[in-house]
Symmetry: C2
Subunit: 470 residues, 2 copies
């Protein structure tokens, strides 16, 4: 209902107050041409004034041309009574709205971790979302428990057991609003000011921020072609936890072999700390045998973080935590005071999507697509740079690493490269100890077509040639 | 794809490894009767082994009766090969799942803040959700900005301006995952350890927890029938902010008159602190004229928190913050590191729901319903307790306060009352200074039918009579 301020302590008559405020709203464009005013009866009861007050005010506005109307049809704001020049406050109909950023000129963006957005299963998801909304019990629309819907936790547990060797009971799962929330819950759960966190270096820059702003003191271990260098695990430290991306190190892309996994677990047992396993895109493994998740090897010590951002869409904001039973209660409590719980209808939609086998069939389809795209990246790089580049970290996922012989991606170089209408991201962005990975780029290809990849690499080649000359 | 651990360092043959692990999965019920195994070609490529390894393992399982199959049709897990007695790990089809809590015997629950769950506009929302999923641009499925969709922020701004006298620009809005996240963002934004927060006493217990666990030192001001006692505002304190529920004090239900609002603003200006205005259910005002929001009076000092939990459904987890421009950047940053952003499809669905006028028409319908329910509560209370109770805080919202002459709701009394299959909530639960509101109950009626309210109050009467005797 229309909002108007009635102040009985003022000397101004009530009729005048209603009239003046409506007039100003029309002049300012807060009420726009063609909009219907509430009926005098309804409006009067809403304002707590007698109906005559509203009728008089409407008649006054009518007389002055601010509104139009006729007996029985209602009262409407007249066109052209709008004064304000600030277009931003005008009524923009939803369907007219253009998101300018989406129309930006055709920059080819090699950002990693973006799935093929045009391949989201719109039909299936939309249909399920509607069905859930129509068919779920009434209680689904009420407040829920912080750990999330039991239907989703059951289905997910079973799916993870079957496809990833994760050992868990539905009670150990907490559904989160994406992996980012899972990470920030882990930080709250395990970190006090000054606590040590052992991490791979390089590792996603944002994760460093989440842990360090929660008070953690970060201790980086170098990464080689087999992932975290477990032989560098420090013996004089009592870390709170070790954070690791064993299935596909981010950004370098290596896979942690079983021997190092065991070393990691032995270290965690010895120092009595947790291991946080971030498994963000291992569903897209193109070659090699699967290796047991750390969680499956030592469920009592490992906190496992999963997400649907890469296999479905980051816009859903759906992820999860698998926790040792000793940590679940505190985690649920933290989730409750963070945002109560993750939206229920989406959880139910996802549960059905998994239960009906649609998720696995979508993953299969996408794995084939991404494998093709990866081939295009590799071929294009070889064609453009031949022996001047080395490709790695490409066995899994939505990105690979390209290392250039004789070229460092300094800030200055990157700015120049951006002028060629491409966006590329250096590994250096994610390093703790600076200077060791200057010649490496992370190339994400999940959301780029064959043509875009080829054109993008071509532009990169042009950019680098020009840079070398200048 | 099915997960299996292949370890080439073992002496066991690859065929045996595949066979053994499939067998165990079947015995444990992780693969259940009738489930289809992947084709040998697909599975072999997934495991990185030769196809013969898989064919041999399948044949072995077939010979032993673990699986069934025929040429061309595929291989299926046989029925009855399941050993594990732990029913929890069995495959529970999504549609068979029963949420036991929803089937609990008919306790009548006077919990406040729950809207009529059976009145959620399923048809309209479900239809819009599907349309958004089908029609939105591809980019909607990617990562978004932390402040939320610009479509929703524009539509919401306009709606708030028109219906609640809130003055804001879409850039000042941050869409949050419910009001709880908004509160925890405010805590992170404004509180350092030891900072003072002035609050009404009583005030929602969970909000006290959010602010105090963020390091805030809570300073309670008493509440009377006109809300916060602004004449008690301390002169020797430099608070970080004042938290207030001026439209419908929770729990006591009073509305803060304009004079006290002005005092509050003057105080905030003098002490240079913010005011956090929590407007959780003012859409359901049954009597009296609307009063300007604090935000509308002093947009530079007031942070406004709104939610769709009461007017639509708490399960959506949709809320928002309106911030003075000086605070928006930091708030977006905090939101990003909390959960990146609120789910995009739901934001778009809500934007359409508001833009098409469906929200306002839903609110109108619900206001009428809640007004009727409120009448039933009042009449039932009068009938049951006559002059022994005083009703207050009932001008707005989904709950009212009933004060009993001569009865204190001690923990013991409440336990006894619960035996009568009703749940009631004492105001004492939300007090900082204990002992002042012992004889008051909060009765929420949003999600109770006429019959449930009548029966519930009757049970309360019985419970109190028996309690008085014992």
């Amino acid at each position: 209902m229309l909002w108007i301020n009635i102040d009985r302590t003022l000397k101004m008559s009530l009729k005048r107050q209603v009239y003046e405020q409506l007039r100003m709203k029309i002049l300012r464009g807060e009420l726009s041409g063609g909009e219907r005013l509430p009926s005098s009866r309804e409006f009067a009861s809403h304002l707590g004034v007698s109906r005559n007050v509203v009728i008089d005010a409407y008649e006054h506005l009518l007389a002055e041309g601010y509104v139009e109307g006729q007996q029985g049809a209602g009262t409407f704001v007249a066109e052209g009574a709008y004064l304000d020049k600030d277009l931003k406050s005008r009524h923009i109909s939803f369907l007219d709205t253009l998101d300018i950023s989406e129309n930006e000129s055709k920059i080819i963006d090699f950002r990693s971790g973006i799935p093929a957005l045009d391949k989201f299963p719109r039909q299936e998801w939309g249909k399920l979302a509607k069905r859930v909304c129509l068919e779920a019990k009434d209680a689904i629309f009420g407040y829920d428990y912080p750990e999330g819907r039991s239907e989703l936790r059951h289905v997910l547990c079973r799916y993870l057991k079957r496809t990833r060797g994760v050992l868990c009971h539905p009670d150990q799962l907490v559904i989160t609003s994406g992996a980012t929330q899972a990470l920030s819950l882990v930080a709250k759960l395990l970190l006090s000011k000054g606590d040590h966190v052992i991490m791979e270096d390089p590792i996603t820059h944002e994760i460093q921020t989440i842990f360090s702003s929660a008070g953690g003191s970060l201790y980086g271990l170098p990464v080689d072609e087999h992932g975290m260098r477990t032989d560098y695990l420090p013996h004089n430290l009592s870390p709170s936890f070790i954070f690791v991306t064993p299935s596909h190190q981010f950004p370098l892309g290596s896979i942690l072999p079983i021997q190092r996994r065991i070393e990691l677990i032995q270290y965690a047992n010895k120092t009595n700390c947790y291991i946080v396993e971030d498994d963000y895109d291992s569903e897209f493994r193109f070659q090699g045998s699967p290796i047991s998740s750390l969680q499956g090897l030592e469920p009592e010590r490992v906190i496992y973080i999963g997400t649907f951002s890469k296999i479905l869409s980051p816009a859903l904001r759906l992820g999860y935590l698998i926790l040792p039973p000793t940590l679940t209660e505190r985690c649920k409590n933290l989730k409750w005071f963070d945002d109560l719980h993750t939206p229920s209808l989406e959880q139910m939609t996802l549960a059905r999507f998994i239960d009906q086998g649609q998720l696995e069939s979508h993953i299969r389809k996408m794995r084939k697509l991404y494998q093709k795209r990866r081939e295009v990246v590799r071929k294009s790089l070889k064609k453009a740079f031949g022996e001047k580049v080395k490709i790695s970290g490409d066995s899994t996922g939505l990105h690979l690493i390209v290392e250039f012989i004789n070229f460092d991606f300094t800030e200055q170089a990157l700015t120049k490269i951006n002028n060629y209408k491409i966006k590329v991201y250096p590994v250096e962005l994610h390093t703790m100890q600076k200077g060791k990975h200057k010649n490496k780029l992370i190339l994400g290809y999940g959301n780029l077509t064959k043509e875009e990849i080829e054109e993008g690499i071509y532009r990169l080649k042009k950019a680098l040639e020009d840079n070398m000359v200048n």
